[in-house]
């Protein structure tokens, strides 16, 4: 089936292992990792029902969903709309993603770019996969192609870090499409970077958006890879669909994703596949763009497209995840087309670097994804600007200033969290609670936050004054009063002198006495 592969499979270098990824992919994460790491050319959509580019919408989504071995047909369903691109599906990523995404209207832009990279790699083995695998040939159009190639490869790659994770997570989160692709999908979802997880974990990753796009891709990719062989266009498509929803910025990512392919692609298809089910993760789509391409077929066309774009993008973005994807995600969520544009651009650059870098970091990122702190930062510049707007609508910040503010905020959050965790550990608890953070802020930062503190009354620690101190204070007062009196009376020279003398002695005696007493 993979005629399409050549077109789309441009990037997928991993195609060489098509057979591997495919079987493992279904099995969720565990197996996927190894295959993913290997640039499985095939993995991608294997099932791509339509390897022959045409499976069309039906088979497209189908294959993707069933990660690999099952190639194409069984799964296509989810998102029929996407299958379009199938024939050339870039989806198939695995073999080489050349899957020409020509079909996908929106992804059309992407596929070409993504296709070449994946196609190159997967070309070899991906042939069957290339077409569909990821992008569900018809549906996911853009995302898939990149996926496909990448899926195969990535699938293995995804597995390497996030994929497995993603799969596991995604499976749990998205139980929807649980086909074998799910495993991949999960990988993707988790691996934010790969963009796949985004799909699957839409609920989880929605917050992650930028990174999620990557995961999204993965799910799609994963799915597609499974099929390696021909990618399961359907499977590819499915991942793509989720990715669109998840990865908003699917767009051009496909391509870079394809190039970067190996990494997350395989999982992408599967995850994307699942993601289709969760349209909501659109946000994460941006990362997934590549994936989406592969799985376009799966979920609704729009979603798929978006997902695919996102997945593709997400994959690529893995490395960058936050920075590029963020921009992508936010705007893209809903529009696939939009995604494609930016996605395309980005993926190319990102693809190579990110794919490799992403994988290892994916796992870390996955966890951080939620907080967007992994590699990229907890905040985005956009939020800084919004904050400034709230303070003064006319104020403008220099970019360096915004950067520094972002750095300061991140450092602050990290130190707070670290201290809070230390306090929680001191409490012999494994849960970080509000009171830990509150205590740290109150003692070290002098920040009291009303509304979280509970009902305790703040006890007052009165100043600790020792008895000796009090006695001495009393003695001093007495002596002062005495001297004043003596001065007043002291008009008479002698009397005052003697008085002073006597009085002076008295205080000394008094002072001495407390000491004696104490001792």
């Amino acid at each position: 089936m993979e005629p399409q592969v050549p077109a789309t499979g441009t990037a997928e270098p991993s195609q060489s292992q098509p057979p591997k990824p495919s079987p493992p992919i279904p099995p969720p994460s565990s197996s996927s990792t190894p295959p993913i790491s290997a640039p499985n050319p095939n993995p991608s959509p294997g099932p791509s029902p339509g390897p022959s580019p045409g499976p069309g919408p039906g088979p497209g989504p189908g294959p993707i969903q069933t990660p690999n071995p099952k190639p194409p047909t069984p799964t296509p369903t989810p998102t029929p709309p996407q299958p379009r691109p199938q024939p050339s599906f870039n989806r198939t990523l695995p073999p080489s993603q050349p899957t020409s995404q020509p079909h996908f209207p929106h992804f059309s832009s992407l596929p070409p770019s993504s296709a070449p990279p994946p196609s190159s790699a997967p070309g070899a083995a991906a042939a069957p996969r290339g077409g569909m695998a990821i992008g569900v040939p018809a549906h996911h159009q853009n995302p898939s192609p990149p996926f496909s190639s990448s899926f195969g490869q990535h699938f293995g790659g995804l597995g390497r870090t996030g994929v497995n994770v993603a799969e596991s997570t995604s499976s749990s989160s998205t139980s929807q499409v649980r086909t074998p692709a799910q495993g991949m999908g999960m990988l993707g979802s988790q691996m934010r970077p790969s963009g796949i997880p985004a799909h699957q974990q839409r609920p989880v990753q929605s917050s992650l958006r930028p990174p999620s796009s990557a995961p999204n891709n993965q799910p799609a990719g994963s799915q597609s890879f499974q099929g390696h062989g021909l990618m399961r266009p359907s499977s590819v498509g499915s991942p793509a669909t989720p990715s669109p929803s998840a990865s908003q910025s699917v767009q051009s990512l496909n391509q870079p994703w394809l190039s970067s392919g190996p990494q997350g692609k395989p999982p992408l298809p599967s995850t994307a596949y699942r993601q289709q089910l969760n349209p909501q993760s659109m946000q994460q789509r941006s990362h997934i763009p590549p994936q989406q391409q592969s799985t376009p077929t799966s979920s609704q066309q729009q979603q798929q497209q978006q997902q695919s774009l996102l997945s593709n993008q997400s994959q690529e973005h893995f490395g960058q995840q936050v920075p590029p994807s963020r921009g992508l995600h936010v705007p893209h969520q809903q529009q696939v087309t939009r995604l494609q544009g930016p996605g395309n651009q980005k993926p190319s650059s990102l693809a190579a670097a990110q794919s490799s870098a992403v994988q290892p970091g994916i796992q870390n990122r996955l966890t951080n994804v939620d907080s967007d702190e992994s590699c990229n930062s907890i905040l985005s510049k956009r939020s800084i600007h919004e904050l400034v707007n709230q303070v003064d609508p006319l104020e403008k910040l220099d970019p360096e200033v915004a950067d520094i503010l972002v750095d300061i905020a991140e450092n602050f959050l990290e130190s707070i969290t670290r201290s809070g965790c230390s306090l929680a550990k001191h409490r012999k608890s494994t849960t970080l609670e509000a009171k830990d953070i509150l205590l740290h802020l109150e003692k070290n930062w002098n920040m009291s936050l009303p509304g979280f503190g509970g009902d305790e009354i703040k006890s007052y620690r009165r100043q600790i004054t020792s008895d000796i101190h009090k006695e001495r204070l009393a003695v001093i007062k007495k002596s002062m009063a005495a001297t004043e009196a003596t001065h007043a009376k002291g008009s008479a020279g002698q009397a005052s002198g003697t008085a002073k003398g006597s009085q002076a002695k008295a205080p000394l005696n008094i002072i001495g006495s407390p000491n004696l007493k104490n001792s």
């Binding site: 509304g451 009902d455 305790e456 007052y460």
Partner: protein
């Protein structure tokens, strides 16, 4: 919302050093200012029936402010012996609106005392 306070309330007791305090004192009662705060919030633009969470938050803020002020006054006043009105006025010296309001209220209090004294003495007459 007495959530954790019940458990922690007892522990805070010993910290307070001094006295005795009863368990109840360590645990704060919620809703002490609820009714008044609702009216005040309405007066400042909120809904006639504000959300209970909003009222609780406002109460937390108010109680925390008063507690902080008293603690600081105690820190200052203990050096001189007892707490006095001067300590409080010293602490809000930077907040002009509050300071002026405080001095106004104190002066009115004096005026009323005088008036009562005169009234009472007149009665006897």
């Amino acid at each position: 919302m007495s959530n954790s306070s019940s458990g922690t309330g007892t522990s805070s007791k010993p910290r307070a050093a001094s006295s005795q305090p009863s368990e109840t004192s360590s645990k704060r009662k919620r809703g002490v200012f609820q009714k008044e705060l609702q009216h005040m919030m309405y007066g400042f633009g909120d809904d006639p029936n504000p959300l209970p969470e909003s009222v609780a938050l406002m109460e937390d803020i108010a109680v925390e402010y008063v507690t902080e002020l008293v603690h600081k006054a105690q820190d200052i006043g203990s050096q001189r012996g007892k707490l006095s009105v001067e300590d409080f006025l010293y602490l809000i010296r930077k907040d002009l609106s509050k300071l002026n309001r405080c001095t106004e209220l104190l002066s009115m209090n004096e005026v009323l005392k005088q008036a009562r004294k005169v009234f009472e003495s007149e009665e006897f007459d």
